[in-house]
Symmetry: C2
Subunit: 249 residues, 2 copies
């Protein structure tokens, strides 16, 4: 879906309303607020955003970058990670269309993170100061953001639980199911098939394993007839069994 129409969101400033994920997250809320302030004849051209496009494998935000902007993914897949100087790194979130890049968070930027495009990515940047001003005036928008924070914190802790206490099989099965859920919520599943542009290295860095081992577990899952990974997409045949392998939640 992404590849079929990479320019779907377009490049004009307020083309989000046409975006498939418009309703998904912050974008909708923000734009509706813009509409509201317009009606009120105040701050008419208030919240501007600039659309950027980045080819796959390129960084979107760098670890040291001090950012005055809040970034939201419009199109494509990206990975947010922390890296050690010796090259080890841990991906802590896969960013999909509609996701706010939390390290460029609406209230405070969080340093030390790197965001890298997995596929070609289209993203949008809001000026933090403007977004902040908007948020303070609108309690529901605010609620949405604090809710986002709590959820992100919970997810981070659950990732820690996985990395600390789950086996490779559990982690990988769980990772696939998590992606399937995220994509389903976005209407990006075609039946039981979804895009799967991740390299082994991505999965390895997200699950705390090595690419080699990820490959072995994946072929096991495939030989057992649970999934089929091919041509940068994955089909889930036996979701029930996959859930069983992913272990308790």
């Amino acid at each position: 879906m992404l590849d079929q129409d990479p320019a779907f969101c377009g490049v004009e400033v307020d083309s989000c309303s046409g975006c498939l994920n418009y309703e998904f997250n912050l974008c909708a809320a923000v734009n509706k607020k813009i509409a509201l302030t317009r009606n009120l004849e105040e701050n008419a051209s208030g919240l501007q955003s600039i659309v950027h496009t980045v080819p796959s494998r390129r960084p979107i935000c760098h670890a040291k970058e001090w950012s005055d902007f809040v970034t939201i993914v419009c199109e494509g897949w990206a990975a947010s990670s922390i890296a050690l100087p010796d090259g080890r790194r841990q991906i802590h979130s896969i960013l999909l269309p509609g996701d706010v890049v939390l390290s460029t968070g609406p209230f405070n930027p969080v340093f030390g993170h790197t965001v890298e495009a997995i596929t070609d990515v289209v993203y949008r940047r809001y000026k933090r100061s403007e977004l902040e001003a908007l948020i303070f005036g609108h309690p529901d928008l605010f609620k949405r953001l604090t809710g986002m924070w709590s959820e992100a914190w919970l997810q981070a802790n659950q990732l820690a639980l996985s990395l600390g206490r789950r086996t490779a099989h559990e982690r990988i099965a769980g990772f696939i199911l998590m992606l399937a859920n995220s994509l389903a919520r976005r209407g990006m599943m075609l039946g039981d098939t979804m895009e799967f542009p991740l390299r082994l290295k991505h999965i390895a860095d997200a699950t705390g394993l090595t690419p080699v081992h990820v490959s072995k577990v994946q072929t096991e899952l495939q030989r057992a007839g649970l999934v089929k990974i091919k041509d940068r997409s994955i089909t889930i045949f036996d979701r029930e069994e996959l859930r069983r392998i992913a272990g308790p939640h």
Copy 2:
């Protein structure tokens, strides 16, 4: 220090001003705001809190509990964790005096977490609704909270990095150093010695290892003369070398 005067914070409602950690975190800010609102003759008896005491090894907040209260630790050590039904669990933060129990977060409670007393613990509960009201009126207090969230998120991600990518030695050395820093900021270090009330199981659940393995690594660190663990306290002899073992940051 904790054991010497467990009732240091007292049990009256606004005894925090005498607390060693009063200036450390939210308490100070909250209480100053109370003072401010008093001066303004509004909401005079606004923010009430109730002090609770819990003996070691007892739960403070349960996983399923819906909480209308925000909890702050006044005295003692506690652990916040997520558990799997089969008993595996991951501790994601050690809570020390002055720490806000983030799963009872100021804006939203976060479910699925368990908070357990390690030592005897004294904590204080604020009604969320009251705290929330207070926060909205006071931007600096608000800034403080969003800053807390960002920091907590960063820490969670760094924990994930450790669990996913660091060796047992790195994790344990890093864990000890982290505690030393936290305690130092609170003025709870006596030279290079600090309280260390954690059981092997706690350290294991915080580092994603088994108690047996933690024991082996600890005795290695001790034999190498880097630290000495004895009588529920730990002394750091060679912080430099410990940092080297903890690996890059």
